[in-house]
Symmetry: C2
Subunit: 154 residues, 2 copies
Amino acid sequence: MDSKEVTFRMATEKDLDSIIQMLSDDVLGSTRERYEQPLPDSYLQAFKSIDSDPNNELVVACYKEEIVGVQQITFIPYLTYQGGWRATIEGVRTAPAVRGKGIGRKLIEWAIERAKERGCHIVQLTTDKKRKDALHFYEQLGFKATHEGMKFHI
Amino acid sequence: MDSKEVTFRMATEKDLDSIIQMLSDDVLGSTRERYEQPLPDSYLQAFKSIDSDPNNELVVACYKEEIVGVQQITFIPYLTYQGGWRATIEGVRTAPAVRGKGIGRKLIEWAIERAKERGCHIVQLTTDKKRKDALHFYEQLGFKATHEGMKFHI
């Protein structure tokens, strides 16, 4: 494949099956997701919540007719930094068949450009310390691991 | 002061001056914020964006007539974890006069309860690695530093 032919757009409900398949086909996702037919309704409900919120964007990378990558960007207004907006990236995944082709890099670069358009001053994300390659990947893109990412499971 | 008398509520525009004063009176915030009269308009604009968004809540801790703590909670729908919602906490601050009185703990406990009410399965936050005490504080509350918190300044 030629990664120059990869395009990016907002996800639609029709993409949901491909997206959930990608989320499931992942070392951590495989223990958390349920990719089955029909898809559990909770995925559709979450998609609708994301899709109807102007501060959430679910972005897919497409190669020809195929969905080969996904990420979610959330735009958040904060009082800190004199009332600055931030973009939070989450759920970045690429299809196994296209790994190593630079799709992940293009996804994040796309998110940074989108964050600029939206007037954000910071792009942020957390990455599981178990994903050893991911830290290096994000550092190469200019991210700095200045913070601890802390989770509390209810 | 008796911390049992501390109450929590959504912030209003009238609280903005006290909140910005707290954000500025902080080792990292002092280099980032501009607490002056009149307040820079960017704070008011950010407040309005937060206040009008049902997925963002700016919460203040009050003791008698005074604002003694603040935090922002953002509720985000995700496809991951079978379409689970998360609560992200940011901008947690307490007034210098009340530090060590358990107000910070009560703020976070309040956020966790609120996250439960909103059907979230994870409460998450990032804390600057320079804030040595904060990591321990959040760990005591049950948070685990499983992730790297990565920032990209535009």
